[in-house]
């Protein structure tokens, strides 16, 4: 099937349109079945994907505005494939665990549209198409937060929207400038990312472009000091919103760095390693400390997301295959783990309508299954070996060690600080005697919740023990990318760094 990528993108949206005529009571079942089909399609894409090929596959290209080189251009490689699979999986599981009763039909339709935009972002190879999906993804999310959120949902939704929108406008300027430069150099217009890869730009332009792209991506990631929209968005969003936001939307930022900044602007990327690493370190340590002082469970996980995204950023700028592969793997694992953690917080929120840790305590006695799954996810979150969280974190730190041992040491403090806030959360919530009388009658996980959580537990263990099926295609694509960057880098300095970061010290 040649058009599988298009089907993958537009199937949920078309199904979402049809969803308008579905009966309200069967909307959830409809949504789940659509998401299941979409997930199966994604799995099928993975099956027919050639893991040993590091380049783009299943390319589709239809010129849209030929004069300006804008085309409908899709493709998938090892970097994007798994994020797409993960996105479809998280939407499916999120829908299964959906506990919202109000306007369920609108929610399902919004989710399906959101799914289209998310898949579209990761499959687009044309900057304009990429940008379209990128911005469109804000709309359903805005609606989800604004319509089903907590008491300050409007503030949170508007902040989320305007903040990220501001960043992406600067990114758009960068894209247009890049296209202009491309036209200037080659004489033809093109917005195809793969065409831009071939472009060798003067260093000065690279820096400006890097900064423009940086704003778009960094706000999405969100990097310190642009992170403050995230706690609000998570704090106010409904469970499903937080799940999708943490699992997929944040990954768009780091994916953007890998897809745009590194291959198009290799010299500037090398130049910017230190500033970005410093920001990432601040993110890692600072937000981990803030997470520790939170009183709301969801906020802890929200800030922990920022901290983990810091590690991912560090991996992206490790400039070697270990680090970049690790950071892509960490994107997946963070998606699964933080998604699961948000679902878990949602479970307790559904029962008690509060997320304050002080309201709980001793839940492990009342809800053992819940405590077990939470414990597994917690351990994955703090990067325990043989869970999914370790592989990525280990590779990222390993990769970045080549750039700077001291910075790696500081970044490595995440394994300590992460344990501090996560264990503190777990202790306050699950350990100790049951102090609050209301907690005595809490019900353990029901079938629906188990259905949505158990697959994630299985993935956490499976990919922790045997990450190869995923790591190998990622690694092939990343090696491709690193080799390409090295070839393309203009300044000798950048070349040296890219080469040296991949080399093992030779024996004397």
């Amino acid at each position: 099937m040649d058009n599988i990528l298009s089907i993958l993108i537009f199937f949920p949206a078309l199904a979402g349109l049809l969803g308008f005529i579905v009966d309200k009571d069967s909307a959830r079942a409809y949504g789940i079945s659509v998401a299941t089909i979409e997930f199966l399609l994604a799995l099928w894409l993975w099956m027919i994907f050639d893991g040993s090929n590091g380049g783009m596959q299943f390319i589709e290209m239809v010129p849209l505005i030929a004069d300006f080189g804008i085309s409908y251009y899709l493709g998938v490689d090892g970097i994007s494939l798994f994020i797409v699979v993960m996105a479809t999986l998280m939407v499916l599981l999120g829908m299964i665990g959906l506990s919202i009763k109000k306007d369920i039909k609108n929610m399902i339709i919004s989710l399906l549209f959101l799914e289209m935009t998310m898949v579209g972002v990761f499959l687009a190879l044309d900057a304009i198409i990429f940008y379209l999906f990128w911005e469109l993804s804000l709309v359903p999310m805005l609606y989800i937060i604004g319509a089903w959120g907590g008491p300050r949902r409007v503030y949170a939704a508007v902040k989320f929207f305007l903040y990220t929108f501001f960043g992406s406008l600067i990114m758009l300027v960068g894209m247009l400038f890049l296209a202009y430069l491309y036209h200037d150099i080659t004489g033809v217009w093109s917005f195809a990312i793969t065409d831009w890869y071939a472009l060798v730009l003067p260093f000065k332009y690279q820096m400006w472009l890097f900064i423009a792209f940086f704003f778009g991506f960094a706000i999405k990631v969100p990097m310190f000091p642009f992170h403050t929209w995230l706690p609000y968005a998570h704090g106010q969003a409904p469970t499903i919103g937080s799940v999708i936001l943490a699992a997929v939307l944040l990954k768009m930022g780091t994916y953007g760095f890998i897809r745009f900044s590194l291959p198009i602007l290799p010299d500037a990327s090398v130049e910017m390693i230190t500033p970005i690493a410093i920001l990432s370190l601040i993110m890692i340590v600072y937000t981990a400390m803030i997470a520790y002082s939170q009183k709301d469970m969801k906020q802890v996980i929200a800030y922990s997301s920022v901290s983990h995204m810091g590690i991912i950023m560090l991996g992206v700028f490790a400039m070697n295959a270990e680090g970049i592969s690790g950071s892509i793997f960490l994107m997946l694992s963070h998606g699964v783990v933080s998604g699961a953690l948000f679902m878990l917080v949602g479970v307790i929120y559904d029962r008690r309508h509060t997320k304050m840790m002080s309201e709980f305590g001793g839940l492990a006695s009342v809800m053992p299954k819940y405590a077990t799954i939470f414990g597994i996810m917690l351990m994955a979150s703090v990067g325990l070996p043989l869970t999914i969280g370790f592989v990525g974190e280990f590779l990222v730190l390993l990769g970045f060690y080549k750039i700077s041992p001291i910075m790696t040491l500081i970044a490595g403090s995440t394994i300590i600080l992460g344990a501090v806030y996560m264990l503190s959360l777990y202790k306050q919530t699950f350990f100790g005697p049951v102090t609050n009388q209301e907690n005595h009658k809490l019900k353990d996980l029901d079938k629906k919740e188990m259905m949505s959580l158990l697959p994630l537990v299985a993935i956490v263990v499976w990919l922790g023990v045997y990450p190869k099926p995923i790591l190998e295609p990622i690694d092939n694509s990343v090696k491709h990318l690193v080799a390409f960057m090295d070839k393309k880098a203009k300044t000798q300095e950048a070349k040296d760094i890219i080469i040296s970061t991949t080399l093992i010290r030779e024996e004397k």
Partner: protein, 631 residues
Amino acid sequence: MENLVYIALFAPLVGSLFAALFAMTPKNLITAFVTSGLLFVSWVASSSLLMYVMDHGTISVNMMEWIAAGNLTIDFGFQVDAITAVMMVVVTTVSTVVHVYSIGYMEHDKGFNRFFSYLSAFVFSMMILVMSDNFAGLFIGWEGVGVCSWLLIGFWYHKADVSTDVNPSISPSWAANEAFIVNRIADLAMLIGIFLIYWNVGSLNYDVFFAAIPSLENSLLVSIGIALFIGAMGKSAQFPLHTWLADAMEGPTPVSALIHAATMVTAGVYLVVRANPLYAEIPNVSLFIAYLGTFVAIFAASMALVNRDLKRIIAYSTLSQLGYMFAAAGLGAYWVALFHLAAHAFFKALLFLGAGNVMHAMHDELDIFKMGGLKKAMRGTYLYMGLASLALAGIFPLAGFFSKDTILEVAFNEHTYIIWFVLWITAGLTAFYSFRQVFLTFDGDERYKKETDAHPHEVQNFVLVAMAPLAILAIIFGFFMNPFKEFATTILPAYEMSEHTHHIAWILIIVTTLIAVSGIVLAYKKYANGLVRDEKMENSFIYKLLQNQYYIPKFYMEFIAKPYKEISDILWNKVDMKVVDATVDGIAKIIYFTGDKSRKMQTGNLSDYLNWMGVGAMLLIVITALSMSLS
């Protein structure tokens, strides 16, 4: 033989998973039987591997690839050589005994099935730790035992936090978190060591790394050595990362016996022994390890002198003995360290299990000042604990005598007389506090009748039987020293005493035995006939200092934990909310404010609009004119 490796490794995992199936159901003896049975299977496999390795040398198996990215390839590879085989047998022996013991000990506990699941999971992690053929695999086990230890220390998670005056460990869950976090600090150093190895050698396999050592710079080796040793310090609770071990006594006693005495805490020693080619190259670091170990030995022994908590005394003595092991390893006598490790595992586990019996009998009362005279009720336990204490004190012909004495000889042989002297003093202290504890618990007046409402009784017979293997090993293990040496030195460097030391060895033995015996005699005199409280001494500065563990936990609490919490709160309330977020909101507010102000321009009067339009038009024209005239 490969199958045996897998059986030894995975039998505990299977047991753990099986027990986990029943984790949320009421007590079911089948979990205990299955896990214990599978551990026995693992023990049999380990023992046969030991035999095999003795005859045929190292076995290596490669199960599958784990992580491959860039140039890095990490396999699930396992190798069984002399060190590993010894560790495996020690681990499976003690854990099988502990499993069987726990059937009795946890009899009435609600989390019976869960307990066995955790315990077996721990054994599995420990097996991975000792069997891996690369540092990443070691790290899996390293973290795995950390988590199992977290689970098991916090096993009675439902207990509430209390102030440190009531219980220095606050609560099981608090102690569990402390243990995990402190270990993580050390793990970070260990990771750094792993990164250093990878980026300089290109592989994490022991063999590749050890083969590459001669080609690496000394400064690099020093860094690697220090990083790995910091990792070892965390797991083996060496100063200054030692506080978690005493608090870890909050866990059920079988856990203390298995994890916090016999196996997990010795992982650090194992790492140093395993990395002996590295440490042999960096004598300065090794010497530092020896000195630190010596310091910890006396440091911990001093705290044990005055403590009143049955389990904490044993925990400190564990700490002290770990110090001995590090001293030996640091001085280059790796096989001696390993030998002491094994011997210690047997008698210390026995001691802990005995303490468990006492606890059981006393309804979880741990204060030895409130016991006394228990020997009438608990003859078997008395015997076991006395035996174990004798072994710990290093009295001939028990296991501790041989191992500890050899360490002292080594210290003497290396001409590090300070180490020898300190360790010698510590031997005396060890004997004293061990028997202080034994006498206070079992001899003298029956204080418990006044102080508590416990009715002490001996434990079930099968529990006593289960403890027997440990007792036997504590007695006879010392006689296997020579075969052990032969076997271990197939892998480890053979450590030979100099002629001179050989000559005066018997003097050293006598001197050491003398101080041990005098420690015991002192304890007997002071405590065997009942407790006489000495108010003046108990109020003295040194006594208070020792009782409060040199105020180190308090120091950590006041200067690390609390400031961290405060800084976090400040960062959140002040920096993140008031600076970072306020800036963003400030920008939004400025925009809103300008909009609000300029709204007044919209008077609704067309004439005003036209005027504004005129201003705009003029500006445009002026700009056009200027740009035209400029160009």
